[in-house]
């Protein structure tokens, strides 16, 4: 039996776990055990999937006995299985962190037993979006994870969270409506919504219709991925949620949007018709995002802006539509999920130890808690792209691909990428200088906790442990960057070739249309 046939379990296990956690809503301890066990089992399964795809290549699973192109298919290829593994590692770390926080606070701040079921549903939605080979099923995956995220965003129902939740919900619903309109139009134009079948049939449409559908999909996914003109909602809504929730949102949700953009660009609309606009948008995302980060004094908001900014790097890699560019983008997505999540987790710890997440109130944390300083320093340098960390390697790959492409616009983007990286370092160094390096007395409005001697605001071991685990995982991405880059390049090659994907869904007799290069990016 092929191991890939187990891939529906990556979605089903978290949903079953959510049901079980919901039944156990009065037994908090049992709920915690159930969610952690279920998520670990899912992670194990996804590691097996990754190994089997590595050996055996792209495979697809038909659901419900309806053959493609009618039924829903799940497709496991190298990119989707890599995303599954990284996302579940991150979700597991955040879950353990949240459990630690819940235990330490006696469920005051991150309250309510609804957290665990909702969290598992969120993981199921993310897995579904990564696995599906059907456009409407992708919409359903998005809706599963978005609906779960609405609940997590407004957890506790305090004033600021409700305010941020309204913006988030309205923007997400509008982007979903746009996506649904695009699906309806695609179905009207081609009569199918299976992505492999669409890859063949969309190529038969005339160029104008193709461009319309292409842009509609990109706008819908661009809102979810927070690409520059459509990113206004993210720094507004993410920082108010509880620390673990912000961490998992920052790590996963925007990356699902990026994943969908990658699939659109490589599978549905290959070629380079929209590469120039995508590159311009990538440049604006990088620069505008990081300039926003420099103005912030709240660490969570600052990190939200760096999150927006670094989405630009992924779009840049995607817009080059070369194997090296796309491979570097895949590597960068894996790196960024891990690093951004660990930084938000550390910010949760900072808030706990220092009583605030505003750099006007913090100071002297390096002396108060050297471990915390180390946990912040490593992912922060990683995010800024300081050698030898994986952030540097990912950026180097992108810059190399940009130089290889050699168009004037690509060179501008390479320069923009370097500038963004330096500005990220500046923003991060500002946090480091103020929150960690200076004396607590020098802060503008020092938090009383910082000047109280003794062990005030001790950090629970589970929270520190899970954060440290994720930081170590981020460092492991650096140590094993060679094999990972190999995998990323391999997955990019398979995605740009498309034959393996289409054949695994529609059978080996399917004709793969050749990719037309309009030469617009030259």
């Amino acid at each position: 039996m092929n191991l890939a046939n187990l891939s529906p379990l990556a979605v089903l296990l978290p949903i079953l776990g959510a049901a079980l956690a919901f039944v156990l809503i009065r037994h908090t301890a049992a709920q915690r055990v159930v969610s952690i066990v279920i998520l670990s089992a899912t992670l194990l399964l996804e590691c097996l999937l990754l190994a089997s795809v590595w050996e055996g290549g792209t495979t697809s699973v038909t659901l419900g006995g309806w053959l493609p192109p009618w039924g829903v298919v799940l497709v496991v290829d190298q990119f989707s299985s890599l995303m599954l593994v990284v996302s579940t590692v991150v979700s597991l770390a955040v879950l353990i962190y949240a459990t630690g926080q819940g235990m330490a606070d006696g469920d005051q701040e991150a309250p309510v037993s609804i957290f665990h079921p909702t969290y598992l549903i969120l993981v199921a939605g993310v897995s579904n979006a990564f696995l599906t080979g059907d456009l409407f099923n992708l919409y359903v995956g998005f809706e599963i994870l978005l609906t779960a995220s609405y609940v997590l965003m407004t957890l506790g129902g305090t004033g600021p969270r409700i305010r941020a939740g309204v913006t988030y919900v309205v923007v997400s619903v509008v982007s979903s409506v746009l996506f649904l309109i695009a699906i309806a139009m695609i179905y009207g134009a081609t009569g199918t919504i299976t992505m492999a079948d669409l890859a063949i049939k969309l190529a038969e449409l005339d160029q104008g219709t193709q461009n319309l559908l292409h842009v509609m999909l990109l706008v819908a996914f661009g809102i979810k991925a927070a690409v520059f003109p459509l990113s206004f909602w993210l720094p507004d809504s993410y920082p108010t949620a509880p620390a673990p929730v912000t961490a998992v949102f920052a790590g996963l949700l925007t990356k699902v949007g990026v994943y969908a953009m990658v699939r659109t660009e490589t599978l549905l609309f290959p070629g380079d018709t929209l590469n120039v606009p995508l590159m311009v948008v990538a440049l604006l995302t990088m620069v505008v995002g990081i300039l926003g980060a420099l103005a912030q004094s709240d660490i969570k908001r600052l990190l939200s802006f760096t999150l927006v900014s670094h989405i630009g790097y992924m779009v840049f890699g995607l817009a080059m539509s070369s194997i090296t560019g796309l491979g570097a983008a895949v590597f960068y997505v894996a790196h960024h999920i891990t690093v951004q999540t660990s930084l938000f987790l550390v910010t949760g710890l900072i808030e706990r130890r220092g009583g605030s997440s505003s750099i006007d109130r913090l100071g002297g944390l390096a002396k108060l808690s050297p471990l915390l300083a180390l946990l912040f320093f490593v992912p922060a340098m990683n995010l800024a792209g300081i050698p030898p960390f994986s952030g540097f390697l990912g950026k180097l790959g992108l810059l190399q691909a940009g130089v290889q492409l050699g168009t004037p616009l690509a060179i501008v983007l390479v320069v923009g990428g370097v500038v963004t990286s330096l500005l990220t370092l500046l923003a991060i160094a500002r946090v480091w200088n103020r929150a960690f390096w200076r004396k607590p007395e020098d802060a503008e409005y020092p938090d009383p906790v910082l000047q109280t001697p003794g062990n005030v605001g001790v950090l629970p071991r589970t929270m520190v442990g899970s954060t440290a685990g994720l930081v170590v995982f981020g460092v492991a991405l650096t140590v094993f960057a060679g094999p990972l880059f190999h995998l990323a390049d391999g997955s990019a090659e398979i995605m740009l070739d498309r034959t393996a994907y289409i054949h695994s869904v529609l059978g080996d007799s399917a004709q793969v249309p050749s990719v037309g290069q309009s030469g617009a990016a030259r």
Binding site: T147, T154, I162, G165, V166, T167, V174, V177
Partner: protein, 166 residues
């Protein structure tokens, strides 16, 4: 593929009203706008199904061209369920906003307003610029002084003379 004109006009009106309503500041109107948008999209999906036909229940005597396309209907059902869940959640949020703030309006982000008001002059970073950055004590601190020690001496002596005379 023929298109039902009535359906098309209704769809257009729903989209127009929906977009108008989500631009309002009142949350209830925004919700109504979202509902209209969702329903307009459902009509759009329905019209992509092509010609009207028999209900897609399999019957050996009926030719396959006489059936209606069942797939858009399945899609619409799913999207109705999803918009139902979102509407219920939004109603909950609107009620909560009312309970907390006694108003049905979108509130401003205070931190965002604060950052926007921040002047470009930063009190800590810009006010005190340390002139001497090195920790080592150097007698001549700037390159000019090192090159022309006598040039820097003259104003000093002049000032000391002034001080002496005063």
């Amino acid at each position: 593929m023929s298109i039902n004109l009535t359906l098309l006009i209704v769809m257009g009106v729903l989209y127009a009203c929906g977009i108008y309503l989500i631009l309002e500041r009142s949350l209830t109107r925004v919700l109504l706008g979202l509902m209209l948008l969702a329903n307009a999209t459902n009509l759009l999906i329905l019209s992509t199904g092509g010609y009207a036909g028999l209900a897609p229940l399999f019957d050996k005597e009926t030719a396959s061209t006489q059936y209606n396309d069942p797939l858009p209907q399945a899609l619409i059902l799913t999207s109705i369920v999803i918009s139902f869940a979102v509407t219920a959640f939004m109603l909950g949020i609107i009620y909560r906003t009312w309970a907390l703030a006694r108003q049905d309006e979108i509130q401003d982000d205070l931190e965002d307003r604060r950052v926007a008001r921040t002047p470009s002059f930063d009190a800590e970073d810009d006010a005190i610029v340390p002139l001497e950055t090195s920790e080592f004590v150097v007698t001549a601190s700037t390159p000019e002084e090192r090159l022309h020690p006598e040039a820097t001496e003259t104003p000093k002596t002049a000032s000391s003379r002034e001080g002496g005379s005063a």
